[in-house]
């Protein structure tokens, strides 16, 4: 091949390489940017006075005096609304029964919208669920709810050939000629005064438990559960995996049994995680009875079984990559086989073993399916270390799924879902980063 063609080939390969990296980076950006943006929104956001009320009542946080003055100022603006409502209720009584029935229906819609915005109205019974005790805690959500109050959503299905279309009708029009018509512009104009939006840094999102299944509060139980499960899985799988790898590489006699074991191990690495979940339920809980029902220990064991093949493979490869000459040197000095493994082979293989371990740790933290049947609950408080043998735990991976698809108010809690995703991604990223740093440090120590 002449030099010209060679150069052209080199250049075009470089171009293709750079191109594919750029495409990868773009794809990554498209995934990561919304996660980071929305996830951060769970911690940094514009919170309303309702949020501060909630924090004070549920978590005993915030300055009472400041809060009561805020509430007082907000109530001053809200009082007018309550007056209007009582006025209108009195007006209703004077109407003819047909008219009254017509307005009653619309009026109850208005009340519901107001409750969503501002919390329980005077005269309402104390709500059972915490989520109804407060108005909108986040300003962005409040603005959506304000729209719900001002406009009624209707569906246009006049044309049967096209899909129905949503359109909005001002509620104020429906109350033309009554005293309530003044309510709508009033709420709109005094909205800020009633809710007092303020930039909020809610670090409690990381450290608080959730209140009323993630309507308020944070995701600490999930984070802690994820750590418990992943680290628990590592405690079982890492030593076991390294020992197995040492056995495979150093002690196993080549033969039928050995090659069977190895291919079984490779197959195990490719088994879908849901199968491990079923296995964990059937074996650890139903057969071994490590716990009455779901528990952290059962989940950790299941995850351990799942990551074991990966750890074995990584450790095997790392051990095999240790130069033969180290082994020879050690043995020729009168070292026993075991001593050679412990003092020369394993230290030299450590960077590779650790990398495999941390990648598995990340996988254990992120897997959902194995813990569905063995360890995860959708709502729960953080458990103590002593409870791992008996209690299940919430965990990020499972709760992300649960919150996004099973939760009765999934659409209202997008910020929590994003927050959880960001937390999980961050945990896995930090783990991998620490692995890289650790590896680099050890390698450097080994080299020079």
């Amino acid at each position: 091949m002449n030099i010209g063609t060679r150069k052209i080939l080199d250049r075009s390969f470089t171009a293709v390489g750079i191109g594919s990296i750029v495409v990868m980076a773009l794809a990554l950006m498209i995934v990561v940017v919304p996660i980071v943006y929305n996830g951060i929104g769970a911690v940094f956001f514009t919170g309303t006075v309702e949020h501060r009320k909630m924090l004070h009542a549920e978590f005993k946080r915030g300055d009472s005096q400041e809060l009561s003055s805020e509430v007082a100022s907000s109530n001053r603006y809200r009082a007018k609304i309550y007056d209007m409502l009582t006025g209108f209720e009195a007006e209703l009584e004077t109407m003819t029964p047909e008219k009254k029935a017509e307005y009653q229906a619309k009026y109850s819609q208005v009340r519901t919208a107001l409750q969503a915005l501002l919390g329980p109205l005077p005269g309402d019974p104390e709500p059972m669920l915490t989520r109804f005790k407060y108005g909108q805690t986040r300003w962005d959500k409040a603005e959506e709810k304000l729209h719900d109050l001002l406009f009624e959503s209707k569906w246009d299905n006049s044309n049967p050939n096209v899909m129905s279309k949503e359109y909005f009708v001002s509620r104020a029009i429906g109350f033309e000629g009554t005293s309530l018509v003044r309510l709508f512009p009033y709420v709109k104009d005094n909205f800020e005064n009633m809710l007092l939006p303020e930039f909020t840094f809610y670090w409690g999102f990381i450290t608080d438990s959730s209140v009323d299944s993630h309507f308020f509060g944070g995701i600490w139980p999930e984070i802690q559960g994820t750590f418990f499960l992943a680290i628990g899985a590592m405690l079982f799988a890492f030593p076991l995996g390294v020992i197995a790898a040492v056995y495979f590489t150093e002690y196993a006699k080549p033969g039928f049994l050995n090659s069977m074991l190895r291919s079984a191990n490779s197959t195990l690495a490719g088994v879908p995680s849901i199968v491990f979940g079923m296995f964990g339920l059937a074996f650890f809980i139903n057969t071994m009875k490590v716990s009455e029902s779901k528990s952290v220990i059962a989940g950790a064991l299941t995850l351990a079984i799942m990551i074991l093949p990966t750890i074995i493979r990584a450790a095997e490869e790392a051990i095999l990559a240790v130069p033969k000459t180290y082994r020879e040197a050690s043995l020729s000095l009168g070292s026993t086989k075991w001593n050679t493994i412990a003092t020369v082979i394993l230290p030299a293989a450590l960077p590779g073993i650790l990398t495999g371990g941390v990648i598995s740790l990340g996988r254990a933290a992120g897997e959902t399916a194995p813990i569905i049947f063995t360890a995860a609950v959708s709502v729960g408080s953080a458990i103590g270390l002593a409870d791992v043998f008996s209690s299940p735990t919430p965990a990020l991976s499972w709760n992300i799924y649960n919150l996004a698809s099973e939760h009765e108010a999934a659409t209202q809690l997008r910020h929590v879902q994003y927050g959880m995703v960001l937390a999980l991604v961050t945990i896995v990223l930090l783990l991998n980063l620490s692995a890289i740093v650790l590896r680099a440090r050890i390698s450097k120590k080994l080299k020079c």
Binding site: Y326, R327, A329, S330, S332, L333, T343, P347, K447
Partner: protein, 286 residues
Amino acid sequence: MLMTTDMRKTSESVPVQKSTREIYLPPQRSSITGGGTAHIAAKEFSIYYGEFEAVKKVSVDILSKYVTAIIGPSGCGKSTFLRAINRMNDLIPSCHTTGALLFDGEDIYGKFTDEVLLRKKVGMVFQKPNPFPKSIFDNIAYGPRLHGVNDKKKLMEIVEHSLRKAAIWDEVCDRLDKNALGLSGGQQQRLCVARTLAVEPEVLLLDEPTSALDPKATAKIEDLIQDLRGSYTIMIVTHNMQQASRVSDATLFFYEGVLVEHAPTAQLFTNPKDSITEDYITGRFS
């Protein structure tokens, strides 16, 4: 033009170097039968890789405190034979032996032989320098620690003593805590010798210890062998005829797994009995 000058240079420099080095030679021993006791003895000893017989029915006495060189063309079984003496071949699953190989009268491949104990007494230095990725100190202290020396002062003594014996102390004494992989190839090889000496072996097996080294480092290793001569039973595999004649008392010539000739070095190089030996040492093939 360039090539001719180059060639002249080499052909001039080689004899000069050779003659200067020979000045320092201690007198070589001239007998392989008397004067010493057999430290290692092979009797009808064969080594197989699976079906393939790499060393064929070798019978030989290696005398105590002698430097014995093993020469022969590539693939003739020199390394295989050498590695059999401290059972390094155990690492190769297909390798097995017949006949007897005795060390101090005991069968090396006997049922009850402790190969770990054997290797403590029969140290080996390999073709490629292979220090551990640890500090210089830890490299030397590795063996003594294995065998139960944990006292820091005692270890330091052993390390210094071994490094001095291997003639590398002056070069590394101020950086004992630095990684051994930072040393040059020649220094690494002498470090490996020191590491082997630190466990106080009786026999030193050297498998082409200088083939990866430049002439200067090679000379240092040869000097080292001269220094150790008389204190250890040394066996050295080499492709370098001059080296064999410079450092050894006796020489074994292997050809296709067969021990063709075993004679005092001076005799083997000046007056070989076998015609193949003669062909080999005169460079008619290699």
